[in-house]
Assembly symmetry: C2
Homo-oligomer: 346 residues x 2
């Protein structure tokens, strides 16, 4: 069983997982990459994963067998478990609670060899539809304060299995990074009666130097204060706080933009390792008087996707200070990514 | 010239360096490691660095020539520059200021081949004396709100040059991570009339499960909510807020503990890449009415060193949420690091 542990000196929560037997040698950097001769995500190996919780299938193909296009399963080695009580309590000066939550894997394609940049718009749309379906299902469990969807691509970005997949983590406390964003959007809306992200996007469109992609429906920018080289953010240009409430047309527009920039990154930056993270409003939980009541009215938020190539490292200065260092100004990154149509088909 | 840029969506400062000509290919992961056939940190190559600002030398050896034991020079490619004005200003919805500060390199030994774990206690003490001397000198410049001292060891920890060195960054705004710690220590002192870190250390000594080293003068623990496998913190057991005010005996006690745990890490974890960061009180700046007045009375802080082996990666979940995942419980890490006397000489 894992735990959430609170550090009273740094004000951080850490998920300490002690349920997998770990030896120090598991952390040595020369460890073997995980063998994938029998990939658990490939068709025909459905029995190697826990039973699926969602799938897009051809009619007539029963669950947990082949014939699927996108398949969502619980993680076989979950960092957070759905059974049990939080049991939040003090441990001397520290604080601890059980690792309650959910941890699912979205297998994005039956094809072991294809990365998301190879997908058609329809195939990426289907992955986004799977995200939406899982968000709508998981938020019925009111223990979960946030549902974090993310994708790790490449070994250096934290993906030991090469078969294309993303992950969903349901967590019992609002993540600190999410909380900062939600609060900033709320404060801005209160002060200005309009959305912070809508206003930032208007400035970016007007300026143009950091715009990588703009088709009138989605906007992709290299953020003004990018923490990492070639970092990108994908914004719907129509305000919406909740990814799970978007219709198929909006998801297809998102898939079109996502495919475009994924192909730019792959073709222009030699298939870099990357992470992307879906930022969306937390589940609605109107509970007046509750300390997290503020999460109950997130209409002032604006969902988006953050895309971070992992081409630089966090070293002592960044870790110690909380300042980031980026040696690639976002204006230069955007010019480079914008300049060349990667394959003539975009 | 670099800039500090403010992200209004994430409330983070990023140092965006646009003064080094950077090509996208500089970030490709297969880039060559920096050639060190003519190491600029080796004796006889003193002319390859800017003129030294501090050195411990044998008598009779002039500055900027051989004959030194520890040498501090300005970084030849500084991320922050000492000349100029901050010029903090709005840029539409964003905020920006010039990259004013200082960026120095502490060359820890004349010997290209020796890592800090190979040093004698006396040699490590001399490095700490160099830190102290630079802190005392740099804090005379009242533009600097904080002086961050850190060491990157190994390529994966951000040290492209193998010759043992650490770095000093003087920054014009208090780093966010530092501010959180200072505020937590202040709040705790106000509420309890005693030091948070002294109380945490008492709990750790009483518990014992996370103690790696304790000689009555210094305490080394694997933190309760460690973010990374085998993370360590080194605390002086005598309360003191300011590293720069410590006497030689205290620095030698620190060097004794630091050498012990560096050798444990090297011998038991196969010389892992690591960062260490000195956490100490900011310079005294009593300016009542100033928004940073709270930094003027930091006696409630307790200086220490944070030591982070880099054996795991920050992936999409950690970056997106601000939660960390640690698969090595600190109790297990401490037991492993405590269990074996690495070379019988400790």
């Amino acid at each position: 069983m894992s735990e959430f542990r609170w550090d009273p000196l740094k004000a951080t929560w850490v998920i300490t997982a002690n349920h997998r037997a770990r030896e120090p040698r598991d952390f040595f950097l020369d460890r073997q990459k995980i063998q994938t001769s029998a990939c658990p995500f490939c068709p025909g190996h459905e029995g190697k994963t826990p039973a699926e919780v969602f799938a897009l299938r051809q009619p007539g193909n029963p669950a947990n067998g082949p014939g699927w296009q996108v398949r969502v399963v619980p993680n076989k080695f979950p960092l957070l478990r759905i059974e049990g009580e939080l049991n939040r309590r003090a441990d001397g000066h520290y604080e601890v609670m059980q690792g309650i939550g959910a941890h699912e894997v979205v297998i994005e394609t039956p094809d072991h060899e294809r990365a998301m940049a190879d997908f058609s718009v329809t195939e990426i749309t289907q992955v986004l539809q799977a995200y939406r379906a899982r968000l709508l299902d998981l938020r019925r469990d009111t223990r979960f304060r946030y549902l974090q969807i993310f994708k790790n691509h490449g070994f250096e970005a934290g993906a030991p299995l090469p078969h294309a997949h993303s992950q969903i983590m349901a967590v019992p406390i609002t993540p600190p990074t999410t909380k900062v964003e939600l609060n900033l959007c709320r404060d801005y809306f209160r002060a200005n009666d309009c959305c912070l992200i809508c206003d930032l996007n208007a400035q970016e469109l007007n300026d143009g130097r950091r715009v990588v992609y703009d088709d009138g429906r989605f906007l992709v920018v290299a953020p003004y204060a990018s923490c990492f080289p070639f970092e990108l953010r994908l914004f719907p240009q129509r305000h919406g706080h909740d990814f799970a409430l978007q219709d198929d047309a909006e998801l297809e527009a998102c898939a079109t933009a996502l495919r475009n920039v994924l192909r730019r990154l792959r073709n222009l930056l030699r298939d870099p390792p990357f992470n992307f993270i879906l930022h969306t409003a937390p589940p609605m939980q109107p509970r007046p008087g509750h300390p997290d009541y503020w999460t109950s009215l997130p209409f002032d938020y604006h969902w988006h996707i953050e895309l971070v190539p992992r081409l630089s490292r966090i070293a002592g200065f960044e870790w110690g200070s909380g300042f980031f260092i980026n040696l690639m100004p976002p204006e230069d990154a955007a010019r480079f990514l914008r300049g060349t149509d990667p394959d003539g088909s975009l």
